[in-house]
Symmetry: C2
Subunit: 291 residues, 2 copies
């Protein structure tokens, strides 16, 4: 089975071509979209999609448009989250955020454009398949990214700022704002590979637990991390009155909760019988960032 | 064949159910999305989709999720267009715009949510079909709404404000910002009905010419129309230095150009042999608003 690094590099080398392959995009719009899309990053979500597809014996080549689309969705969400009316952040991956570099109007449209491009890319690929696997994979991603998924989590995060944190609310935000976009690639990758429904569900459970742990680690890094190494400002969550797991449970308890989610993530992979090793390694490395 | 009014009412009565049928949306997010989605309006785009599907013998029932999705896409584009960083408008259909009613952060997310919901709705319906018609229809809509379509037109419109108008630029903006979202329902409705490719192309030509005329009429109404009757401020294009057909060609020439596009739109329907009458009537009524 392909490693995370192999999958990450496949995505990295395909992203620009997938976007430009959609046709004649106005130069300034393309520039703004690529500024954020091609700014590096871990490519965690698209790599997960390729790894899940690979694990179940699917074609990584066929899965690439879906993987790139998911990274476009992740990138659009970052651009809109950073806007002055939202988190008002001016640094992302060590560079000015989209609205600082291009203005708010262009940043809003770059975000809209990336979400639209993602859907178009997946639908084009789905049309080219002889069956509905691509359509079902695109549906899984749209659902996890949508109004009962990522957008819902973002809405609750933005509108609850400054209120007293409750475990229910913080769990909801983490589950939807973060974990849904790690669940989506597992579902989509497995559906593309034609995996049976029980494996798709097991993959989704892995994605959920990895996502919950991932957000806890992110919250921890905002408290204990180094701005230069991270390429973004730290201490922002507290400054914005964000509801975080750390604010609710403290640093040590959050470390323990994250470890438990990683244990559950790896456990969910049992039904893949050994082929899951790179996914389990990836989960453990996520945790190691704050250990 | 069903009339525009019949199709409009079908859409009107289905919109809320289609959105809420996606699952548990956070109450405040749902409220903001419905505020804009259920604010009336002509429902031109979704009605066109149902009329096109009906004309080619397809099931209007099967086409409803796609029609509602298109109206959600149209609505998201209005919410984002109205934002302070874009057109900065505070009145839409006689009521405060989304960001005036709910704040900028919620308005941005309501727009993102409506675009996401549209895609999810189409993909869910496409999954339930036994073939790829739904996938192809969704692809047509995503493409026309995307970075070589509506978003491209909006980008050029926003970034060219205040520069000297050229016919090429204004045509590009009208073709993509407006006409693409009237071409999309013709393509999608006909694809859903299983119409042959030559009919899909003829329908697209109708949508393009109707869209060009429609934008010219809209530009004319901004100059010669009545704010109270329109439910929005007039004179905004000139105030914002917008590139309009009227600014380029004057009122009388724009009236003539619009009439020519309507003539071409009706002509494109010839291959439907009589079944096209309601669409031709609709096109002529569009023109009558400024005659």
């Amino acid at each position: 089975m392909r490693s995370y690094d192999e999958c990450r590099l496949l995505v990295e080398s395909a992203l620009a071509g997938q976007l430009r392959g959609l046709g004649q995009i106005p130069a300034g719009l393309l520039e703004a979209m690529e500024y954020s899309l091609l700014a590096g990053g871990k490519r965690l979500r698209p790599a997960l999609l390729l790894m899940a597809c690979d694990m179940a014996g699917g074609s990584v080549e066929d899965a690439l448009p879906f993987a790139c689309a998911l990274e476009m969705i992740h990138t659009y969400s970052l651009i809109h989250d950073d806007l002055p009316a939202m988190d008002n952040d001016d640094l992302r991956r060590g560079r000015p955020t989209s609205h600082r570099a291009f203005g708010e109007d262009v940043a809003i449209l770059a975000g809209d454009g990336l979400l639209s491009a993602a859907m178009e890319l997946m639908l084009r690929a789905a049309c080219a398949m002889g069956d509905l696997r691509g359509t079902r994979a695109a549906h899984a991603i749209a659902r996890r990214a949508g109004v009962t998924g990522m957008v819902a989590g973002q809405f609750v995060d933005v509108t609850q700022e400054g209120t007293a944190p409750t475990e229910d609310t913080v769990s909801y935000i983490h589950a939807h704002k973060t974990a849904d976009l790690l669940t989506a690639p597992m579902e989509a990758g497995l559906v593309l590979a034609g995996a049976p429904n029980e494996q798709v569900c097991a993959g989704a459970a892995y994605g959920f637990h990895l996502g919950m742990a991932f957000q806890m680690v992110d919250d921890l890094l905002d408290v204990v991390g180094d701005a230069a190494a991270l390429g973004k400002n730290t201490g922002m969550d507290a400054a914005l009155g964000k509801l975080t797991w750390v604010a609710l449970r403290g640093v040590e308890e959050t470390r323990r909760d994250a470890a438990e989610h990683i244990r559950l993530a790896c456990g969910a992979l049992a039904c893949f019988g050994g082929a899951e090793t790179p996914l389990c390694t990836l989960a453990k490395e996520t945790l190691a960032r704050v250990s």
